[in-house]
């Protein structure tokens, strides 16, 4: 965790500087002359984040190495899992705009079921087809909500 605290501390510190020096001045209109300027709170927040992330960075850099076998919070496998999950869900989101909720929802459920280790074709087909149809029509007839 120590290594990740150093990395996240450094990243947050850089982010706070970027926000304070570039993003907030450029992305916030000056506002009215009276009262609190619109950039006041974002600036205060980024100063707090900057100070605290510097503290996180320094405490972990200067602190004693307590455990040599410090557990790694996010491994390469975790990143890979996150990537696969994100690709499937983003692809179905893209498909949803083109082929609609039912078809893309069915494809997404099937993809996740296969990814999670399900190999039997009948349960995959039944679950992936019935679920989006059920949700679609339940929302339409129950709440008059029309999904894409």
């Amino acid at each position: 965790m120590r290594k990740y605290n150093i990395i996240s501390g450094a990243l947050l510190f850089i982010t706070s500087l970027v926000f304070l020096l570039a993003v907030i001045p450029n992305e916030t209109a000056p506002g009215e002359e009276y009262g609190m300027p619109p950039a006041f709170l974002p600036n205060i927040i980024m100063i707090v984040i900057g100070v605290l992330s510097a503290a996180l960075l320094l405490l972990n850099l200067l602190g004693k190495k307590k455990q040599e076998s410090d557990p790694v919070p996010i491994t390469a496998n975790n990143w890979l899992h996150l990537l696969i999950f994100a690709v499937i869900i983003l692809a179905s989101l893209l498909l949803m705009t083109a082929i609609g909720f039912i078809a893309s929802g069915a494809l997404m459920i099937a993809a996740y079921m296969i990814y999670m280790g399900q190999r039997k074709i009948i349960p995959i087909l039944l679950t992936s087809i019935i679920t989006p149809i059920f949700i679609y029509y339940m929302l339409w007839y129950g709440f008059t909500i029309l999904l894409p």
């Binding site: 907030i24 707090v48 997404m108």
Partner: protein
């Protein structure tokens, strides 16, 4: 009185009772499935409440919360796997009692204790909320600003292992809340030219992403790694004696003191922002063990142990609404989501609600008490069905929940942009959970952000841009000193 009677007629409408019934059933259902919890269900259900009457909407969400508290104990008792962190203390005695061939006794004690604790805290809420709101109404913007700083600091400090990371998460939540239109002057901020961001980042998309979808990613990962134990404790009680299937009057009477003590602990903890349900359960359990005549029985299947943990964790539900109703401050993540539901219906939670929406308040009180009765009935009658849910394969559950999350996010804003925001925050939530940055503090910071900014602006306005007013007003100063003391005490205790 007139409002209370009018509200009563709203509580007993077919629509309200039906949604309470559905809410409690969904709650128990969700709580019983390991990996799912009440907060996830509330996050996904809030967009559905767009289309409901305000009382029915809040009652529905409260029903889910109440049901999920008991639901979490089902897998704690039968699988020795808490469905949610707060049910962990229930495992200590619930599972050993189930192993002794008395799973129904354990489940029934959990149900009765859960309903007892829940009803107790509802009654405390009903009794104390209005008087506290009267006091809160006398507070000015400076006092409200200090109370919010105090609440947010407490939540930030207590929600994770690291104080620094807790505070970073909270202020980061406030930063995300700054995106869009500034509340006083309607000036655009941090929108990066996006039209969709002009109305701010949608709360429900963040809630579903951080609470539900990020948890789905983690649970899928666990499932793929095959780390989840599927050792189900089958509920087969046909061969057991009747005495082992029920909670006897003597057992319930013997646990009455424990139930009252735990309910008091849970209510006290629920009323304070940020302390969390798990703490209540463990404190209730610890206190019961210390006070018990048979402490050696604890951990070996003591009925009193189950009562202590369940009454304490369920007593948090009603008490969590005390800071929400009286100050407009969410004490935990589900209260933050309920604020979202209130706002959908044009109601701003806080002390003014007692003046502006008395009928709604009494309606919520009545619905909460009806939900307790429904929880007892649904839990009691459906025990065997809910126990069967534990055998439901996870490779069906999580893909379906993912599609429900997409549906929920889409419904919250009727745009794909909200779904995209949900996915971004799900990924962020996954990383935050792994790196121990509290997502709870983030969401509460996000919800409190606009309120904090508004009260800060009002404070600056009445004081002529002089922030020293915060230390010149006695109540405001008291809360700031309290904040300092809390930071110091927690820092010391975490160091030790």
């Amino acid at each position: 009185m007139e409002n209370a009677l009018l509200a009563l007629s709203d509580v007993f409408t077919i629509s309200n009772i039906s949604y309470l019934f559905i809410g409690v059933t969904i709650g128990v259902f969700v709580g019983a499935i390991p990996g799912l919890n009440g907060a996830m269900a509330v996050a996904i259900a809030v967009p559905l409440t767009f289309y409901l009457d305000s009382l029915v909407a809040i009652a529905f969400l409260v029903g889910i919360l109440k049901g999920s508290r008991f639901g979490g104990s089902i897998c704690a008792i039968l699988l020795n796997t808490p469905g949610s962190p707060e049910a962990a203390a229930t495992c200590f005695d619930g599972y050993p009692l189930a192993r002794q061939g008395k799973p129904l006794k354990a489940l029934k004690m959990a149900l009765y204790s859960s309903v007892f604790g829940d009803t107790f805290s509802d009654l405390v809420l009903i009794l104390v909320a209005a008087p506290i709101a009267l006091v809160a109404l006398k507070m000015g913007p400076a006092e409200i600003t200090s109370v919010m700083i105090f609440a947010l600091t407490m939540i930030a400090l207590l929600s994770g292992k690291s104080l620094i990371k807790g505070i970073i998460s909270g202020v980061f939540g406030i930063l995300v809340a700054c995106v869009g239109m500034e509340p006083m002057t309607a000036t655009m901020r941090l929108t990066f030219g996006s039209v969709e961001l002009q109305n701010g980042v949608p709360l429900m998309a963040i809630g579903i992403g951080l609470l539900a979808l990020s948890e789905v990613i983690i649970q899928m990962e666990e499932q793929i790694k095959d780390r989840v134990k599927e050792e189900n404790f089958i509920l087969d009680d046909k061969k057991t004696d009747r005495q082992d299937r029920i909670v006897t009057g003597q057992e319930f009477k013997g646990s009455l003191k424990t139930l009252l003590r735990s309910s008091l602990i849970g209510t006290g903890i629920g009323a304070l922002p940020g302390l969390g349900v798990s703490l209540a359960a463990f404190l209730g359990y610890g206190a019961a063990k210390r006070a018990s005549k048979n402490p050696e029985q604890f951990g070996k299947g003591s009925v009193e142990g189950i009562a202590a943990a369940e009454a304490a964790n369920s007593a948090v539900v009603g008490a969590n609404l005390i800071p929400l109703f009286t100050l407009g401050i969410p004490g935990n993540v589900t209260a933050a989501l309920i604020i979202g539901a209130f706002m959908i219906h044009g109601v701003t939670p806080g002390p003014l609600m007692f003046q502006e929406q008395p009928k709604l308040i009494y309606g919520i009180y009545g619905s909460m008490l009806v939900a307790d009765i429904l929880n007892l009935a649904i839990g009691g009658l459906g025990l065997r069905i809910f126990a069967k849910l534990l055998q439901f394969p996870k490779h069906y559950v999580f893909p379906i929940i993912t599609l429900i999350c997409i549906t929920g996010a889409f419904m919250s804003d009727s745009t794909f942009f909200a779904v995209l925001i949900m996915i971004i925050f799900a990924i962020l939530g996954y990383v935050m959970k792994k790196l121990d940055f509290s997502f709870v503090t983030f969401i509460i910071g996000f919800v409190l952000g606009p309120m904090l900014e508004l009260s800060l602006q009002q404070t600056m306005g009445i004081s002529g841009n002089n922030l020293w007013i915060l230390v010149q007003r006695p109540v405001s100063l008291a809360f700031l000193i309290l904040t300092g003391i809390v930071i110091w005490r927690i820092y010391r205790s975490k160091r030790n």
